[in-house]
């Protein structure tokens, strides 16, 4: 496999109910990846997909196009939606330190994505929406 000729494939989702299809799609593509890379990509896709529907679409339906390009060196995940513009850099920081009885979960998704992926790039969509690009360098990547 050459980096110039990536194996790309797409999944088109309409609602949060498509999470099962999305995870199955990711697992099918990840079958050729090492376990650590596969884990990171699955986690990043689930967290980003969930955030788009929970916050971007406010628990409503809307289109999300997931594209995954696998090359010898890296895995590039692209999520394109039509939700109101949202730069993940503006996501609230997660609560990592409160005592157990005051601990909250909010903000963990973006925090996890940034830690397990090597690059997180955000751009506003053409007319509306958002394009999120997540890159993972493969653990056994060559070159």
């Amino acid at each position: 496999m050459s980096d110039a000729l990536p194996a790309a494939t797409e999944f088109h989702a309409r609602s949060m109910r498509d999470l099962g299809g999305v995870l199955a799609f990711v697992d099918r593509i990840s079958a050729e990846l090492d376990a650590d890379t596969a884990f990171s990509v699955r986690l990043a896709v689930e967290e980003a997909f969930t955030n788009i529907y929970e916050y971007g679409y406010d628990d409503h339906e809307g289109p999300v196009m997931l594209r995954i390009d696998v090359t010898a060196r890296r895995v590039v995940v692209t999520l394109t939606d039509e939700a109101p513009a949202f730069d993940p850099a503006e996501a609230p920081p997660p609560d990592l330190e409160s005592a157990w009885d005051e601990r909250r979960i909010g903000g963990l998704g973006w925090h996890l994505i940034r830690h397990v992926m090597d690059e997180v790039t955000y751009a506003p969509g053409g007319k509306r929406g958002n394009v999120l690009k997540l890159v993972k360098i493969r653990a056994n990547g060559q070159g």
Partner: protein, 116 residues
């Protein structure tokens, strides 16, 4: 994801296997809350066969920890594999939950007074 329940005296071991994600976390939360509500306050989750968790899974664990501790008990984790441990560490969960290398050690930990 599959969930099995085992009683070890006062301690209850919940054996979870598979993927704890946005598809399965609600089911896990309902089962765990059901165990606690039924009076099983001293819980050990055996995670040896859990190969994946997302923040959805952490939400279920955190809600159960709060419920158990408010009742005077706890939820402790055993046999956490490397990737799941990484998610717990990145999320700051290793500072609020107790992790043990094996199930016996987690069960034995309840012999000491519970101080969450």
């Amino acid at each position: 994801m599959n969930i099995e329940f085992e009683s070890h005296g006062d301690v209850s071991v919940v054996i979870i296997s598979g993927s704890v994600d946005g598809l399965t976390a609600d089911d896990l939360l309902k089962r765990l809350q059901g165990y606690v509500a039924a009076g099983n306050l001293l819980l050990v989750a055996n995670l040896a066969a859990v190969e994946y968790t997302s923040s959805a899974g952490l939400r279920a664990l955190l809600a159960t920890v709060k419920q158990a501790r408010r009742g005077g008990g706890d939820l402790r984790l055993a046999c956490v594999n490397a990737n799941v441990r990484k998610v717990l560490e990145l999320s700051g969960f290793t500072t609020i939950m107790k992790l043990f290398g094996d199930v016996d050690a987690a069960i034995a930990s309840y012999a000491a007074p519970v101080r969450p």
